[in-house]
Amino acid sequence: MKPAGFTYHRPATVDDAVAVLAEVSPAGKVLAGGQSLVPLLNMRLAEPEHVVDINRLSELAYVRADGDAVRVGALARHADVERDAAAYAVLPLLRETLGYVAHPTIRNRGTTVGSIAHADPAGELTAVLALLGGTVTLRRAGGERTVAAADFFTGPMSTCADAGELVTSATFPVPEGRTGAVWTEVARRHGDYAVCGTGVVVTLDDDLRVAGARAAYVSMGPEPVLLDLTDAVAGAPFDDADWPAAGRLAAGRLEPDDDIHATAAYRTRLAEVLTARALRAAAGRPSVVA
């Protein structure tokens, strides 16, 4: 298991990086934490002619949180995001979700933006970005654009990023109003990709009645699946809503596949159960009902 030969580039600035990517496009591949790319290279499932290592781009090693959003640079490790106190204060969902992402050694190297750019349909952060209506910023030689998560993910392991573009950051908006968010999942082993995982956001009105319920799912489709489940619970008191109905609504709208770890029917059942559990927990968060 040794990779095929490639040309290795290690730019020192973002400008240099996008220049190299433009030059070698479409034969370049960006290396950040390497937690997905390196195994793919070793197993020769990917044989890029050029690997552009962005680990010297310290300008992208940031986590910035304010009242509106948490913005994560392309060189911030999962562990940086997980440990960031300001990010946790405004958006506890990030830390809570990252606890499900692999293991500490992997989170110390793997980057949050890298996992989003890789667009594995089982990657928790892809779903969280979609759930929160987040955005991704892409730089290319001579330009920059910001794309909504809904437009960014175009299929399993595929995004709208062009070969010459570098994803420089991801922005996770803080949900507005009286909202609670929760991530939960079932995996075969701790830290494995989920058999089914879901993140939810519940919004209450000032009478503590349900005004909105959204959920995003991993391992339930070719890309993060986003569902609005408000219809099942709208107007119900936060502590007496029919959350199982929302679970059933979700289950009826998801079309997962069988794989070697679980049948589609089992995944659907998990989605039903986990959706109800997560929504109930999100609505009951002390910060929401306070």
Partner: protein, 796 residues
């Protein structure tokens, strides 16, 4: 450190080195060696039409490309069937490089040697093999149906058919007031050591000798096999097992194709050659185990006593039978565990499939046998409405019936006679440890809270320490340190600590003065290997025998020096002294180091130590020759141990599980082990062996399976999809021990290496069945499987 370390839970002497990264594993050796890589079959069953290497020839750094046609002499012959058996009528093996046909994905076809592994793999990618596809046989049902054949000349896909029986089982079943039938299914798993296989070979043309490092469980036998295959005199071949990162059975098989090919190429090229197996290669190019279908027919009285037990096993042996049929033999002979049915009959069919060959994996057929027997015990209890422990207790062999002859022939070809054990006492300890009687209250409490919990139990008896023999060599150096060697290998068990404890205690020296070498044919040439929980029993007793001889010699020489009767002397903390004279009056003691000096009279004084041993170094008795007649120089000796038959350890496990009513997730709440492996050399090491075994048992029960598709492709050949449990999946393990010494060996010890894994599937199936209220008959079981079972029952 006190002299008496035998039986003490001392820390492992090998750990500081390994934890500091100072281990020398196979891939740490030979950095300048050429690298080998292999083109392996991507197809499960095909005829090789053509191999075109043209495109590889241009790869930079390419040194050689070999196919079967290049293998001259015996290197090109079929690999051996290591353990022949009269019922193995159709044993088949592959070749080091496939000849004409491939029978499983992963079978090596072309060997490439290049200046490094990257380039070797580049070259492999450019070699084109043309195949004529043959339909593959995948799964035990397909093999049994025999609509298609793996080997044209093996009718019914049956490599071996064997029947053993005791008593008239037909009559017993006919007369039994109760008869049950069970169909059971255990899927494949594998040893999956963290370090795969690996071989490094160096041919010394000047010396006409070959040195091979290989990650093996049997270096002496690899040596003999290589000498035979490569047509070299045995004394020109050295084989060394360096630090080995786990074996669990798969490395007892030899010679692996790569073990023949790497040295063969090294000789041919006159260069060092190395191959380190990667993870994907290991999944498809090594061995698996466990896969069996079983049918049990059991007759019993209204008290639950076994009257007749008739078991049929269909065993998946994969594409070849390099290790014979040891696994199904063990399944059908060890199945009985601690029980004594009036009549027993076991029949197995060992079947070929176009999948990776099956050879022993820790437990070696016992987990399957335990599963059959223990599922049967639970079925009897359910049928009669009896407590599961009561049914088991009523069928136990009693301590006063030992030794107990099960009337069968064991895997070593010798009678299956249990030497000792107290099964009722083991069960009592287990019930107390897990709180068997209190569980009903816990269940009620959990149920009231909407939780679903269950308790399970499984018992086993394990034949350990099979022969034919092991040996040991012990030497006291002139500085008083002790070196010892045994030929069998070590893969992480802590042998160097346990053996040092044995030697130190026999010899009367501190344990940290003893350095043990294993698995190096330069140091000890006679050995069998490390398998069947035999190392402590076999080499432990052999080293004890050698140490006792050295001790006797030391006392004799010291007696002369001290002018004392050797029978009045003892060795304490490395000093020979008159018994009971601590501190020692002048002339009443002599350091063992000095005895070692005296044991080897020298002519040349190369240092101050040596000066004392020269003919002019001290007082000399001119009436005697420097080395007494019948003696040999040096304070060293060799001992062997060869048992009349195996010694039988036993144990019982209990588990409490919780199954989520909604998500069908399975959580182990408690896991309790009571274990009796005779006298303990080092309780801490035994505990570690149990823990490791339980971890693998949990893996086999809840996580691991080999997922083959209909075309014979292994779909989960990586640690991402083959779910070896992490530490987070292994429960806290509560243990208790009994020590019933074996009467068969001087140290009274029984093997402990495999024990922990044996009842894993049985005990967890028992607990999950208890939680769910229906019998689990197929393992492993995933949450998705449990969900499907629930759905199937609801829709009935």
């Amino acid at each position: 450190m006190t002299t008496r370390s035998f039986g003490e839970p001392i820390a492992r002497l090998e750990d500081p080195r390994l934890l500091k990264g100072e281990g020398r594993f196979l891939d740490d050796i030979g950095h300048r060696a050429l690298a080998a890589a292999f083109v392996r079959s991507p197809h499960a069953h095909a005829r090789i039409v053509d191999i075109d290497v043209t495109d590889a020839v241009g790869v930079d750094g390419l040194v050689a490309v070999y196919t079967h046609d290049d293998l001259d002499g015996r290197a090109g012959e079929a690999l051996p069937v290591l353990i022949p058996h009269e019922t193995l009528t159709h044993g088949r093996t592959g070749f080091a490089l496939a000849k004409d046909e491939v029978n499983h994905v992963g079978e090596p076809i072309v060997m490439v040697v290049a200046t490094d592994r990257y380039l070797a793999e580049d070259a492999c990618a450019r070699i084109r093999v043309e195949y004529d596809f043959l339909p593959p046989v995948v799964g035990i049902e397909a093999a049994r149906d025999a609509g298609l054949l793996v080997h044209d000349d093996v009718p019914g896909n049956v490599s071996a058919h064997m029947v053993q029986s005791r008593g008239d089982v037909e009559a017993a079943l006919a007369a039994a007031p109760n008869v049950l039938d069970l169909d059971l299914d255990i899927e494949r798993s594998a040893s999956t050591p963290l370090e795969g296989k690996g071989v490094h070979a160096r041919w010394d043309a000047d010396d006409a000798s070959l040195r091979v490092y290989t990650s093996t469980q049997a270096s002496t036998s690899v040596r003999a096999a290589l000498a035979a295959r490569l047509e070299l005199p045995l004394d020109r071949v050295e084989v060394i097992a360096p630090d080995v990162g786990g074996g669990f059975g798969v490395k007892i098989v030899h010679p692996w194709p790569e073990e023949v090919l790497v040295p063969w190429a090294a000789i041919r090229l006159g260069r060092e050659v190395k191959w380190t197996e990667d993870r994907r290669e290991h999944f498809v190019g090594a061995a698996h185990e466990r896969g069996q279908l079983q049918h049990v027919r059991v007759g019993f009285d209204d008290e639950g006593r076994l009257l007749g037990l008739d078991v049929t096993v269909w065993h998946d042996n994969g594409a070849y039978t390099p290790y014979g049929i040891i696994v199904p033999i063990i399944t059908t002979t060890q199945l009985l565990g601690p029980y004594k049915p009036d009549a027993y009959r076991a029949e197995f069919f060992s079947l070929y499939t176009n999948t990776v060959p099956v050879t022993p994996y820790r437990g070696a057929g016992r987990p399957q046998g335990c599963f059959a027997m223990e599922r049967t015990m639970d079925a009897i209890a359910a049928h009669l409405g009896l407590d599961r422990t009561v049914v088991r207790e009523r069928n136990f062999i009693r301590p006063d019936e030992m030794p107990y002859d099960q009337g069968l022939i064991f895997q070593d070809g010798r009678p299956l006679v249990y030497d000792s054990g107290d099964y009722p006492a083991t069960l009592e300890k287990l019930k107390k440890l897990v709180g068997w009687e209190e569980f009903a209250a816990f269940r009620d409490e959990a149920r009231a809270a909407g939780r679903r919990v269950g308790i399970g139990i499984a018992c086993y008896v394990e034949g350990t320490g099979v022969g034919p023999y092991e040996g040991g060599w012990v030497k006291v150096e002139t500085d008083g340190s002790v070196v010892a060697a045994t030929g069998l290998t070590t893969q992480g068990q802590g042998h160097k600590t346990a053996f040092a404890q044995v030697v130190a205690s026999e010899l009367g020296v501190p344990v940290d003065r003893v350095a043990v070498t294993t698995g190096d044919t330069r140091r000890f040439g006679y050995a069998v290997g490390t398998f069947a929980s035999r190392a402590a029993v076999m080499s432990g007793n052999a080293l004890a025998a050698a140490a006792r001889k050295v001790r006797d010699k030391a006392l004799r020489i010291a007696g002369e020096a001290l002018e004392a009767d050797p029978r009045d002397l003892e060795i304490v903390d490395g000093v020979v002294r008159v018994i009971g004279s601590p501190g020692g009056a002048p002339g009443a003691s002599i350091p063992l180091a000095t005895v070692a000096v005296l044991a080897n009279p020298l002519r040349y004084a190369f240092d101050r130590e040596a000066e004392r041993a020269t003919q002019f170094g001290g007082p000399v008795d001119f009436s005697k020759p420097p080395v007494a007649e019948g003696e040999s120089p040096g304070l060293e000796d060799t001992g062997f141990y060869s048992p009349p038959r195996s010694t039988f350890a036993n144990g019982m496990h209990a588990a409490i599980v919780e199954t989520d009513p909604e998500t069908a997730e399975i959580t182990i709440l408690r896991y309790c082990v009571v274990h009796d492996c005779g006298t303990l050399i080092n309780p801490r090491i035994v505990e570690g062996q149990i823990h490791g075994g339980v971890a693998q048992g949990v893996g086999g029960a809840l996580y691991e399976r080999m997922v083959y598709d209909g075309a014979g492709q292994l779909l989960n050949a990586s640690f991402m999809d083959f779910l070896m449990p992490y530490s987070t999946e292994v429960p806290v393990i509560e243990t208790d021990h009994l020590e019933t010494p074996s009467p068969l060996n001087p140290l009274g010890i029984k093997g402990a290496g495999e024990a922990g894994v044996i009842p894993g599937s049985a005990v967890l199936a028992s607990a999950i069945s208890d939680a769910e209220g229906f019998a689990i008959t197929r393992m492993p079981i995933s949450p998705s499987d449990l969900f499907s079972l629930r759905l199937a029952r609801e829709s009935r």
